[in-house]
């Protein structure tokens, strides 16, 4: 069943304005936190809630917060990661565009919890219109006394700024984001030290995804236990899922964690099934980085249990038969889709986005793109399949940041589950042209 916590007021006209947002319980968490709670109590509530980072890694947020160093006389920073760039993911954009004040409220409450007096929202540059929306909302929050000096007369000061990126997927990696915010190339840093010790300008810093920070609002309002009661097992709360591809109803859905994948795909409450009455072929469940699964493995685990939209269930079976929750970028492909060609678009993406620091990633992503191009052009050999496998295995685990894995995993999974399709393109190059892609636009095929 859909459970709306973040998008509870999404349908209300004018919810993007301060006035309407405030009328609908907006900024209550700021009042509660600043007036009745100690910062460490908020951190404790976030721990109790079981909230996990919603950007993709799924690291427990409360624990991340508790690592923050607090040396005397050194400023601490909260930076919101709104560099949403994982192919298949558009939930943060949705949230910021429609309910910008929810993010701002979460930033104020979270900044107070962490003892930050200056915070930043780093937004990917392509979302420039979102930046304008956020800036307007921030101005409204300042005018209403929720930002600036002596907020609500509590003596707490906070300045909040929006920083544009320049167009680089890698800046979604938190240390690359910090480098970028310092006005540099987005090269990830070697860790340790982690940002909690030495982050922005060498100061202790927490970097959290948009959805994570938004989730702090209901956690503070209703308590960590109430949040933890939602969801299933260690997958507590709700998750925004970006659904795209060959489904009847693409869009952003807030789900209670634990919804069966089958229900998510076929129920009219969510994706509404596969377009044009086609069959489902495969799903990339958590953004481009996570392993692709064929229909039988995305609907059911290898043990025959129904697969659920939760961190544990999606990863059940490891990479042999499972995948990951990732960012919640859910891409469904119908029976006519070429998995190899889709993989090529991913490989091209990672090659383009590799920062170039580490040789395995810089060189390997380019090689994988080139080899996959050979398959599409009908020039590949069977040995190229093994070569691809070899390259991806030599990127994984050998780079400073996880972009290496993100580029390697989709290649490995496509070969693992769809090897016959690779072989077919070698044995019968013509067959790549026989894959009829369904286009939403009539007449596109012969254009």
């Amino acid at each position: 069943m859909s459970k709306k916590i973040l998008l509870q007021y999404d349908h209300i006209p004018g919810i993007n304005t301060f006035e309407v947002y405030r009328q609908n319980n907006g900024y209550k968490s700021v009042e509660k936190a600043l007036k009745t709670m100690k910062p460490e109590e908020i951190v404790e509530q976030v721990k109790v809630s079981g909230l996990r980072g919603r950007g993709g890694a799924g690291f427990p947020t409360g624990m991340k917060w508790s690592f923050l160093a607090k040396p005397e006389g050194v400023p601490r920073y909260l930076v919101c990661n709104a560099d949403e760039s994982e192919p298949g993911t558009f939930k943060d954009r949705y949230l910021m565009e429609r309910i910008p004040h929810l993010l701002i409220e979460g930033m104020i409450t979270s900044s107070f919890a962490l003892g930050a007096n200056t915070s930043y929202i780093y937004v990917r540059g392509e979302y420039y219109y979102i930046i304008k929306i956020l800036q307007k909302a921030i101005k409204e929050a300042y005018a209403a006394g929720f930002l600036g000096k002596n907020i609500l007369g509590t003596g707490y000061n906070l300045d909040l700024f929006v920083q544009p990126g320049g167009g680089a997927y890698i800046c979604g990696e938190e240390t690359a984001l910090i480098e970028s915010l310092e006005g540099k190339r987005g090269n990830p840093r070697i860790k340790p030290p982690f940002p909690a010790i030495a982050g922005l300008w060498g100061c202790p810093t927490v970097v959290n995804n948009v959805e994570t920070i938004a989730a702090v609002v209901p956690i503070v309002n209703d308590g960590g236990e109430t949040y933890a009661a939602i969801g299933i097992g260690k997958s507590t709360g709700t998750k925004l899922i970006s659904a795209s591809g060959h489904i009847n109803k693409p869009g952003v859905y807030e789900i209670e964690l634990g919804v069966p994948v089958e229900e998510f795909i076929y129920s009219d409450e969510y994706c509404g099934g596969i377009r044009n009455g086609k069959k489902l072929k495969a799903v990339v469940a958590g953004g481009s980085s996570v392993p692709i699964l064929p229909t039988e493995l995305i609907l059911k685990t290898a043990n025959g249990e129904p697969r659920l939209m939760s961190y544990e269930s999606l990863s059940d079976g490891g990479f042999a038969t499972g995948t990951m929750m990732g960012s919640g970028g859910f891409i469904a492909m119908d029976e006519d889709t070429s998995v190899v060609k889709n993989l090529f678009t991913f490989a091209r993406f990672y090659h383009h986005e590799s920062c170039g620091q580490c040789s395995p990633c810089r060189e390997g992503t380019g090689w994988m793109e080139k080899i996959l191009k050979k398959f599409i052009d009908g020039k590949a050999t069977l040995a190229d399949i093994d070569l691809l496998w070899d390259i991806q295995s030599k990127i994984e685990g050998k780079t400073i940041c996880p972009l290496g894995e993100a580029a390697a995993w989709p290649v490995a999974a496509a070969i693992r589950h769809f090897r016959p399709e690779f072989e077919a393109y070698v044995n019968n190059p013509q067959s790549i042209h026989d894959v009829k892609h369904y286009f939403r636009l009539n007449g596109l095929v012969e254009a």
Binding site: E84, S85, E86, P87, G88, T89, F90, R93, Y120, R124, G125, E126, Y128, Y129, K132, F161, Q163, P164, G165, G166, G167, A168, Y169, L181, E182, G183, K184, R185, G186, W201, S242, A243, S244, G245, H246, P250, G251, V252, V284, S288, G329, I331, M333, K341, N342, T345, F346, R348, F349, H352, E353, H437, Y438, F439, R440, L441, G443, L444, V445, A447
Partner: protein, 174 residues
């Protein structure tokens, strides 16, 4: 070291924006303003960043020109060569590909009689293929300036191009 003073100058309005951007960081961390100021400079000076423009930005932030070049060349949104007035950035990744992005590119190329990456003869348009813009649920799409054009059809594209041609000014997002 010889220093040549850049001949270009931000408008008063842009200078005011620069001033506001600089207030966002601690006084000794003004290099953080580099990305936003490069966006501003690109919008001010014809949609791309010439060496002269980058040197000018370096002089404002009191950093070495190389610090600007290395950043400008790293991020995909900064154009280091002149581009058409309207840069049509077509997303080509996964969901957009599945929903017809290749046909969008072919249609644009045919309609504008130009190859991807080249400006049209009148300098009005230029097609660029880009990676995921976070519009997967509304694919296929392209971005022009700060505007997302989503759920594209050939008819929609015709209308968009006609409107832009009539408007005839640089696509800018700052």
């Amino acid at each position: 070291m010889t220093e040549t003073k850049p001949q270009i100058q931000f408008s008063l309005e842009a200078l005011q924006q620069v001033h506001e951007i600089l207030l966002q960081y601690p006084a000794d961390k003004s290099k953080s303003a580099l990305l936003p100021i490069l966006h501003l400079a690109q919008a001010e000076f014809g949609g791309w960043l010439s060496a002269e423009t980058m040197d000018y930005v370096a002089s404002i932030l009191k950093i070495q020109p190389i610090e600007v070049y290395e950043v400008a060349s790293f991020y995909s949104m900064y154009n280091l060569k002149p581009v058409g007035k309207y840069l049509i950035e077509v997303c080509q990744t996964s969901s957009c590909w599945m929903c017809g992005s290749e046909d969008i590119v072919r249609y644009l190329e045919k309609k504008l009689q130009v190859e991807t990456g080249q400006p049209t003869q009148d300098g009005m348009f230029q097609i660029k293929t880009v990676e995921c813009l976070g519009s997967c649920g509304t694919a296929p799409m392209f971005q022009i300036g700060d505007k997302y054009y989503e759920n594209l059809t050939f008819e929609k594209i015709d209308t968009i191009l006609d409107e832009l041609r009539a408007e005839n000014k640089y696509s800018r997002y700052v």
